[in-house]
Symmetry: C2
Subunit: 656 residues, 2 copies
């Protein structure tokens, strides 16, 4: 056995190593002939997309463009080793970049870097020490990324991958649509080439929009025309790609517009002659690694948690879609570890936080990417540009990047179509979608995410609290019991009421259970008080005040008598516990007290269809004591009914 044990533990270590470094499981058996061509084509296509997206998203993250290229290289290489999804394209992503940008601008606003205070003379814009500002912002973005990585790594090591389940689909879609709104609004200033300050925090979308509209008169017409041309071109290419998906061997790379517009910008000297903002300095080569500046961390903790979770949820939701499509599985915890390492190690090489981008991933998959090799090759394309020819992008107008970002958002905005669809299928999920969207647009992405997760959780409570109740009747010649209101065939058993409510019984709905039971069994406080010989009129008024038996309010005297007679005839109540999945002490107490209440007027209550688990719970809660014995529990409703029928019904109570 010792040998076996040793073998076991060595196998365990091996399996742990394999699960930590998934590349060891797939690379040794990589089928070169089958896969390599697809991976190369896909890698090149994705790499071409990484370039403009990296530059553009760096603008969102409020750092100089070249840092977007770094972020499109290092983490992508790392993911090849640690990632479990074969099809997602890791790298810069609009939403995450925007979140980083918000934090960075909050911590290092322009106002901190004024060279001269021109408070009184507002027509002359005060000069900003952009170099110091950008250096500070890079510091902040890198430190934040480091923290995001640590968060993701910790969550992964603590096996917290399951948190993604709280991010239900309507929530994620509403949230990402809201994120697109943020991204779209943030790009308007680049499209119009107007200089407005950047806002963050609640209502920042509204402030940004107002700021752009106020300054709309200072629009640079050249930039706007160039931007709009790009949008039309890119949208056209996108459309063609989708329409002729089957006929095209590869999607047409719309990103070619970057090369063209860079050429135009250089040729026409757009910056010098037309004041069109361009990308500007792109230093060649890589920077030496350096430890992030941890002194700024305390302010960034909450932001980093939000970014870590959003990044992970984007990654895992896309990874799962591909895994399902191609029949392999992804591991949430390992994905967290992979993303954590990408961001943490990356941050030492001056990257900002990454996750997978939906647009790139779709291209990587559709161009024939089979494994992580495609992502690796894409990163090599980026590396080539960074070390050799980055400088040629310097004259690229910012408005072109804004156009690329905006067109990439089209897919996200199409999620708006969820609204009519969800209206038809599930109002509650529509509510989740709308809450996620509205709160994320108005409160900002971090608070929005928090509010919408809270709301999604509350909807579950709401569902358990809005159950359907019914009285069951016997379907003759079977052992089945169905809702008497729904099925004509079902017949109520004389003197027996079978009550069914499809919910568990716990604090938030035990009152509901008891009230519905009493209403349905039409056997309320009314009768109990009658037994105590109080005046009928008084009792009826009390009941009305309580609002529970208001139906009886306008009943005539004869109806009242009939009603009472029906009540007296019931000698047994069976509670169908089949839908009860759990019970807590409040629920157990409520059921117990209702059993006692009915026992006081000679009505016996039985419990049917109680699962083994539930029975154990009831025992632990000391439910069976006093008049409540385990004898009242029956495996099925039919057993309970047979028991009631064979029991000699006791003589009706002595009232009247």
């Amino acid at each position: 056995p010792t040998g076996h044990h040793q073998q076991c533990s060595s196998e365990k270590i091996k399996s742990a190593a394999l699960s930590f470094l998934p590349i060891l499981t797939w690379l040794p058996s990589y089928p070169i002939k089958e896969y390599l061509f697809g991976d190369i084509v896909s890698g090149l296509s994705t790499g071409v997309m990484q370039l403009p997206q990296g530059l553009a998203y760096a603008m969102l993250a409020a750092v100089p463009p070249v840092y977007g290229l770094y972020a499109s290289f290092y983490p992508v290489v790392l993911y090849t080793f640690f990632g479990t999804s074969k099809h997602v394209s890791i790298g810069t992503f609009a939403v995450i970049s925007l979140m980083i940008g918000g934090v960075v601008v909050r911590e290092a606003p322009d106002s901190m870097f004024m060279l001269q205070a021109n408070g009184t003379n507002s027509s002359v814009p005060s000069l900003i020490d952009t170099e110091a500002r950008d250096a500070r912002r890079v510091h902040l973005a890198v430190a934040l990324t480091s923290l995001v990585g640590i968060n993701q790594l910790l969550l992964g090591l603590l096996r917290f991958g399951f948190v993604a389940i709280y991010l239900t689909e309507p929530l994620v879609r509403g949230f990402t649509t809201a994120a697109s709104v943020h991204v779209f609004v943030s790009q308007l200033k680049y499209l119009f080439c107007v200089k407005t300050r950047r806002f963050s925090g609640p209502l920042s979308v509204v402030y940004s929009l107002i700021a752009v509209l106020k300054d709309i008169t200072s629009t640079n017409i050249t930039a706007l025309i160039l931007g709009l041309t790009c949008i039309v071109f890119l949208y056209g290419v996108k459309d063609v790609n989708e329409r002729f998906k089957a006929k095209l061997p590869l999607p047409i790379p719309g990103e070619i517009i970057v090369i063209v517009s860079t050429g135009v910008s250089y040729g026409m000297s757009l910056f010098e002659n037309y004041q069109v903002d361009i990308v500007g300095t792109i230093p060649s080569g890589l920077l030496l690694p350096a430890a992030p500046d941890f002194s700024v961390l305390p302010n960034l903790v909450t932001d980093s948690i939000a970014i870590a979770i959003v990044g992970f949820s984007m990654d895992i939701s896309l990874a799962k879609i591909f895994a399902l499509k191609y029949g392999y599985s992804v591991d949430g915890n390992q994905e967290l570890i992979a993303l954590g390492l990408c961001n943490f190690i990356g941050s030492f090489f001056h990257t900002f936080a990454v996750t997978c981008s939906m647009s790139r991933s779709l291209v990587q998959e559709s161009t024939g990417g089979k494994t992580q090799i495609a992502g690796f090759l894409a990163s090599l394309v980026v590396l080539l540009v960074v070390v050799a020819i980055g400088f040629i992008f310097q004259p690229l107008p910012q408005t072109v990047l804004a156009a690329i970002i905006m067109v990439n958002l089209v897919g996200m905005f199409k999620q708006m179509r969820d609204i009519p669809l969800l209206w038809k299928t599930s109002k509650l999920e529509l509510a989740i979608w709308l809450v996620a969207f509205v709160s994320s647009v108005l409160l900002g992405l971090d608070y929005g995410l928090l509010v919408s997760i809270g709301f999604a959780i509350v909807t579950v409570i709401y569902r358990t609290q809005s159950p359907k109740s019914m009285i069951l009747g016997h379907i003759p010649n079977t052992g089945m019991y169905c809702d008497v209101d729904e099925y004509q065939e079902s017949i109520e058993c004389t003197g027996i009421k079978i009550f069914h409510l499809n919910a568990s019984i716990y604090f938030a709905n035990s009152d509901l259970y008891i009230n519905t039971l009493k209403q349905k069994v039409r056997y309320d406080v009314l009768y109990l008080t009658l037994k105590k010989h109080t005046v009928v009129r008084l009792v009826l008024l009390d009941v009305q005040g309580n609002g529970q038996v208001t139906e009886s309010q306008t009943e005539s005297d004869s109806e009242e008598t009939h009603f009472l007679r029906t009540l007296c005839a019931v000698h047994s109540i069976i509670l169908d516990f089949t839908p009860v999945n759990f019970i807590d002490s409040v629920g157990a107490k409520a059921i117990k007290s209702v059993i006692k209440e009915y026992a006081a007027v000679d009505v016996h209550v039985f419990i049917a269809g109680c699962s083994r688990t539930l029975l154990d719970e009831l025992r632990t809660l000391l439910f069976f004591s006093g008049p409540v014995t385990p004898d009242i529990v029956f495996p099925t409703v039919h057993d309970a009914v047979l028991h009631c029928q064979h029991r000699r019904p006791r003589p009706s109570s002595t009232v009247v």
Copy 2:
């Protein structure tokens, strides 16, 4: 029919009036002979308790003592008209008073009323303009009370009485125990007669305790001895009352100590000779009504919501206990309206927020109180003191009031016994208790309440996510199916797996459902990939990475083959949907995709025991489309099994 209709609406108006003014329902038929004596005795006893409690709780609320007497008079009279509980004693209450005091001191701290700045010379305490300070604090307390009343009134009119259901018993008990800790700590300074400032907000308990301990050397020994004597006396009386409950006609009124100690204090001139703090000026007569100062409201909104909810939850939980005991019903919404009117109208007469007090209510009930008349008489006792003999309480030492408050807390502290009890019955509810206690002690009562409600809601999610799964087997000669691991008699049907998981299927546990299903059916991605002719080794490694079928890790080759053979034999899977109470789109998609997944390998999935409601939900979610037809749904597990057995099992798949 018009006449009938008119009659109906006039009856409706009448019933609305009756439900708004419950006194109209019970006073006309008040059985004087039976009830009046009990009500008088009970009213006098409760009135005697209202006096010292009013004085003491005014100290907690940081307003002059006489305002506690006002709060023990006006709201009590109002409750007689609007309240639905016959046994609760409305008036000042420690927890609420403490919450008011916290807000009042935060908004009008001593430091705002310094007469001279003695910052450098700390040995001489700076003088405080107590008159201005107290006037300001009364203003604040009254405005806050007005707002609390408006909140409660609105909640009641909007029929929000149901919110009380979220205040589950363990939560309320943990919370009130924490409140007792706050009250106890706040009284220490009066018991020791040391002058420390008052703290509010998170960790205020800790700060207060430290402040008292630091100043412990300046304890006034006379006051301490007097206080301890009172504590011992009051505790003794309480103990005797409980021990000889059956033999005593009336509980001994321990509050007599107030008279005695007032006499002692007056006779020995404790204030002048021993510097013992006394109650001080109690003006005779009532103040003219005045509108609260609404200018201070904006700062108090969130506090007022917390106080409104805590006040209501105290009232309704106690009212329900008595209603259950005496067989009448209380209406949550009307109680909210009653409390709202007590506080709102009361605030015009300079009262601070009230609710029912547990100690007084128990006395009111045990001394024979039958209706709200008892409370009304108690208020008359208070009125008598206010207008005629209030001044005689002026020499009453504050340490005696502290002693009364502390001894009244004994019952609350006994709730600590819940901990071992809950440990045995329900760990989850113990967690709610402890979270409510710890968070309310450390974060303060407002944030503590918020955190604990949030936690209680999350436990429900947790419960739905920690279900029990099982494979069902047939019990021969019955139509019943039970857990094969629990019941030896149950036999698995050849080729059919019946899966049961007692939870609803929604976003937070749909993954769990699918994973457990695959684990239990032992028919994982493994086999699916095998069908696709990939190398077995690779697949096994993949599966390990995923962590789902790790059992197979150390299996030998022959075991593996056997395992695969068993898998191939399964031709049908039946999902027992009896415990599924609701499903959302994420759940429906998950089930649909698993059905398709199995269909790809010729395994048919059926759904059994699906309720009518659930079927409707599935239809709305467009579940039935493509290969998934309503034919796969069966009313019971047995029907589904019979169908599977009569279907000619398809030839086993072509693998191996």
